[in-house]
Symmetry: C2
Subunit: 241 residues, 2 copies
């Protein structure tokens, strides 16, 4: 997405315009004519270059994924910190890409499925290596842990709006990243509970009753895995203490 540089192929300009509007307004809410206007061309030309609106979406999907995975390799190896700083500085320039990506991840979209799989795989190998080198503890279930670490990693992207609203800034920014780093790293270092009484209780409860039923209330307090009741459980459980 180097739309600022004006000497792009018309086809590329249309694609960038589509990414911008699809990402901002969603696929169904964006008309071919709106994309054409954004790119400064006629609606017919959009179809001429991409055959159909659906094909245009597919082209955007694979472009965004490849662009994103390309940067991933860029970050790998070499001066990582500098690469991160570069990415953060570019966060505004990359906004359309980021918005599009966020929409992809929650949509029914096989390109998003592939991307998510590769993110989980990356997290999994990171986890394995760090466990091997003694930096991280051995998780109970590495598969599930990698999955949830990935979910936790992408949720600020997907829930960008709520995050920005609560932090009082507009969108993902270096500032919100800075404020978030220590609390999250603290959670990942020390956990949240003072002791393992809940974990032990849950281990026994789940060992005994594999189903969702549980005869004692204390078996899984604040069990955030199930979101609709996450806050609620937490609340109600807190009344037990």
């Amino acid at each position: 997405m180097r739309s600022s540089i004006e000497d792009l192929t018309t086809q590329a300009r249309i694609r960038d315009a589509a990414i911008l509007r699809f990402g901002r307004d969603g696929f169904a809410a964006t008309s071919v004519r709106a994309i054409a206007a954004e790119a400064g061309v006629s609606a017919g030309l959009v179809i001429h270059h991409f055959t159909s609106k659906d094909a245009l979406r597919a082209a955007c999907d694979s472009y965004v994924v490849s662009e994103f995975l390309g940067r991933k390799d860029e970050l790998r190896g070499g001066d990582t910190a500098a690469a991160i700083a570069r990415w953060l500085a570019d966060v505004d320039a990359n906004r359309p890409l980021i918005d599009y990506l966020a929409r992809m991840l929650t949509a029914e979209n096989s390109a998003a499925d592939d991307l998510f799989d590769s993110l989980v795989a990356g997290t999994k190998s990171m986890l394995d290596e760090n466990v091997a080198s003694g930096v991280m503890r051995e998780p109970i279930d590495p598969e599930i842990t990698a999955l949830y670490l990935t979910l936790y990693g992408v949720v600020p992207l997907v829930m960008q709006r709520q995050l920005a609203r609560r932090l009082g800034v507009d969108g993902l920014s270096a500032e919100s990243l800075r404020r978030s780093t220590l609390p999250i790293l603290d959670l990942y270092t020390h956990g949240l509970y003072t002791d393992d009484r809940f974990l032990v209780a849950a281990e026994m409860a789940i060992g005994r009753t594999p189903g969702p039923r549980s005869d004692k209330g204390e078996n899984d307090p604040n069990q955030d895995p199930d979101p609709p009741i996450a806050g609620d459980i937490s609340d109600s459980y807190s009344t037990h203490h």
Copy 2:
């Protein structure tokens, strides 16, 4: 959403049909006629009862939120575990509500904003109470911690599709909840890192340089707050060990 019981107001049947289709296909991709067909009425009647498609959406929003917060109170106090079990048993019956809610949370929607705020507030007071009673450690920044705990709580809802795909089941289920409980509770109990070397390094780095820039790579490894590079950073950092 007790659509199974057929003797509902026509207006309620239309509302339920709208929730079903909006939640499954999205607002823009759902036509008034499709909702009418789903409810077994004419398109005109939909407008007659709800004035416009936008107003129908607003009606669905507030109905879903109130229905959800109603259950929240239902869960609070009393036999919590039994209430949870009841909720999980009803997960299929509640699917339309859940899907609608998931869509709301990522959309530009003031009703969703209010709901999210109340979820954060609930998590915050849970956190405060548990810290006061010594069950949880004092977080570095309770505000941010509550925010991220809420995000982590709702992400399986919002990313339902990816979660289900990876777990090999269809949608949120009691089974996926069961498999997730222990690993997550383990993370919340013991953390992920074996020692606090990264946390300490990050504290110093951020204390020194409040901006996004960082002169050393070790200041925020695996810093999941920023999602687009979450997996990537983790990966590249793992090469340092």
